[in-house]
């Protein structure tokens, strides 16, 4: 059965009005986004900075309440799951800034074991701590880390603690929101490999958000490309990397400097020429029209629908011949 599914998901932020009594406005970020994820699989989500990847990741876990559409967890609408708080054990998230993701006033044992107080309230304090230590060991941190504080950790160690906290409740899904982009290149591979190892052992599904196409290629089964809050291309990994179909995906690929690993920290978007449309004032036509080399008047006026362009592949562009 499908683990996670979103149907025409729309997510926005409430922008407070300027005065006390002026109405709040909704700033839409993610539009009409549908995806499915099967157990044990990894969906890579790529896109430029600010295109709404983190917003999507949080909405998939209902940490932000979607403004439109549905998210289904194992076929159940998340909006109506009773006692979702406890069910959150099954769906976890890790973050881009691994140090900011840890409460500086708590020991690592406390940080990692705290979710168990909610997820498994009958667990004794001692058992919860034992589980936390076990989770720390699973991510490669020895038990003597348990009573340390976050400020004593390196970035890579902090991200491991974040992963330990995510797996301590034995989840089925982890949303990884750019989990390695703040880390040194040498550490990045360790963390990625740790995630893949845990995926294999625990049968985890991952949503792997990144702006780094090389990392996404390494870890993902399927790839989804986002531009300005919309999916522009979705494909199995090897097909996608063999031949990206959407002009935006092609531009992202071209922007990746091949083997130089130090450049991987740079955002993909930086090499894309042209003006990025503002989320406040989205274009009526194709989201990529202002920067697309193939753009025509049709592109600027009519938004291309996401359609199947090849077996298992979808893209949103007027001019793709399968």
């Amino acid at each position: 059965m499908t683990l996670l599914e979103s149907r025409n998901l729309g997510v926005g932020y409430r922008i407070p009005g300027t005065g006390l009594f002026s109405a709040a406005r909704m700033l839409p970020i993610v539009h009409d986004l549908s995806l499915t994820l099967d157990p044990g699989r990894t969906l890579g989500v790529v896109g430029e900075s600010g295109c709404g990847k983190s917003t999507l990741g949080r909405a998939l876990l209902r940490l932000i309440v979607p403004s439109d559409g549905q998210v289904l967890w194992q076929g159940e609408d998340m909006a109506t799951i009773p006692d979702l708080r406890r069910r959150r054990a099954e769906m976890q998230i890790i973050f881009q800034d691994p140090v900011a993701a840890l409460d500086p006033r708590m020991t690592l044992a406390k940080i990692v074991s705290r979710p168990l107080a909610t997820f498994e309230p009958n667990l004794s304090r001692k058992d919860a701590r034992a589980r936390a230590v076990q989770a720390l060991e699973q991510v490669g941190l020895s038990a003597d880390f348990a009573d340390r504080f976050p400020h004593e950790l390196s970035g890579g160690q902090a991200q491991r603690v974040g992963i330990a906290r995510a797996i301590v409740g034995r989840p089925k899904l982890i949303i990884c929101d750019e989990p390695v982009s703040a880390l040194d290149v040498s550490i990045q591979a360790q963390v990625i490999n740790l995630l893949m190892e845990l995926q294999e052992k625990m049968g985890l599904a991952l949503v792997f958000i990144s702006h780094n196409l090389a990392v996404v290629r390494h870890i993902s089964h399927d790839v989804m490309v986002m531009c300005l809050g919309r999916v522009v291309e979705q494909a199995p990994r090897s097909e996608f990397y063999a031949r990206p179909l959407h002009p935006y995906s092609q531009a992202l690929m071209d922007a990746v400097p091949e083997p130089d690993p130090r450049r991987e920290k740079g955002r993909v978007g930086t090499a894309l020429a042209g003006e990025l449309p503002s989320v406040l004032n989205p274009p009526p036509g194709c989201v990529f029209a202002s920067r697309c080399p193939k753009a025509t008047d049709l592109c600027r006026q009519t938004r291309p629908e996401l359609r199947t362009v090849a077996p298992g592949r979808q893209a949103a562009c007027h001019f793709i011949e399968a």
């Binding site: 406890r86 006033r105 909610t118 941190l141 880390f145 360790q190 740790l194």
Partner: protein, 295 residues
């Protein structure tokens, strides 16, 4: 690709928690530590000193009316115009002033911290309304508020206490709210929600503890503020009423006798000044030790 589980990372030698480091830093501040000791001495003196005398501060000794300070047993600093022992009255007045000071700061602090933490964490319209309420209360004239509350509570110490708390919780609320707002954006709060914590648990377990540095520093400034406003109100005659003593009303009656007998003003005045100085040095020391800007 191979996975390096075998190279398990071992922890570096332990270091203390930030809070412990901060207190360690505070203990190195000699002026602040001396203030702590002096303050402790004054507090102990006020609360236990009066037991050493065979009378209370409200007992009149008609053999010694307005006796001068001759440093002889039993009236070491002499008596006032009713024959009451000055030193004992000042010590007992200190009990009142210090109790109101610390208790008032504690209550105002707790209210302010919780209010600010909730406002900053919840954000949005609720936060806007909560902070607008604070602004309105800020604008409320203090003395009028005290008079209103005295009417409401029928006067007395409770009205005074309520009035002091009522005005002084506002600033900690504003300070904590700013801190809570920036904390609420940190990812560990998001992680806490992903971990199934309720908003209430997040405020109490994550937001409030992380505001502690600010609260400790500001709280130490709040104590002298409360003592000062108690003294000020008692000085004006709307605080602690005779025959009960407080430093404020002692200073007030000392001032009216200033021309003939300075000692009635000096003894409570000097003690109050010492306590305020100590508290300010302690607050300074705490700020130096806790200020997140120079960590």
């Amino acid at each position: 690709m191979s996975v390096d589980v075998l190279s398990r990372e071992t922890a570096p030698p332990p270091s203390a928690s930030t809070l412990r480091l901060q207190f360690r830093r505070f203990r190195k501040n000699h002026l602040a530590m001396a203030s702590v000791w002096l303050l402790a001495l004054i507090v102990l003196g006020c609360f236990f000193g009066p037991y050493a005398f065979p009378f209370t501060g409200e007992d009149a000794d008609f053999d010694f009316i307005s006796a001068p300070a001759h440093f002889q047993w039993p009236h070491l600093f002499g008596t006032d115009e009713f024959g009451r022992d000055l030193l004992v009255r000042v010590l007992e007045g200190g009990q009142v002033s210090l109790t109101i000071g610390f208790l008032g700061a504690l209550v105002a602090g707790v209210i302010g911290v919780l209010y600010g933490a909730v406002a900053g964490f919840v954000g949005g319209r609720a936060d806007g309304l909560m902070m607008r309420a604070v602004e309105i209360l800020y604008g409320f004239p203090y003395v009028i508020l005290v008079i209103l509350l005295s009417l409401l509570f029928g006067g007395g110490n409770l009205a005074l206490f309520a009035a002091i708390v009522f005005t002084l919780w506002l600033t900690p609320a504003v300070i904590v709210r700013a801190q809570a707002q920036s904390l609420a954006r940190r990812e560990f709060i998001e992680a806490a929600r992903a971990g199934g914590m309720t908003g209430r648990q997040i405020v109490l377990e994550h937001i409030v503890p992380n505001c502690m540095s600010v609260v400790i520093v500001y709280g130490s400034l709040l104590v002298p503020e409360v003592i000062l406003s108690e003294s000020f109100l008692s000085f004006l005659g709307i605080g602690i009423k005779e025959p009960q003593a407080s430093w404020g009303n002692l200073i007030s009656s000392g001032t009216s006798a200033m021309d003939s007998d300075l000692r009635l003003l000096l003894l409570p005045g000097v003690l109050l000044a010492l306590v305020l100085l100590c508290l300010n040095f302690i607050a300074d020391g705490l700020r130096d030790a806790f200020d997140p800007n120079d960590r």
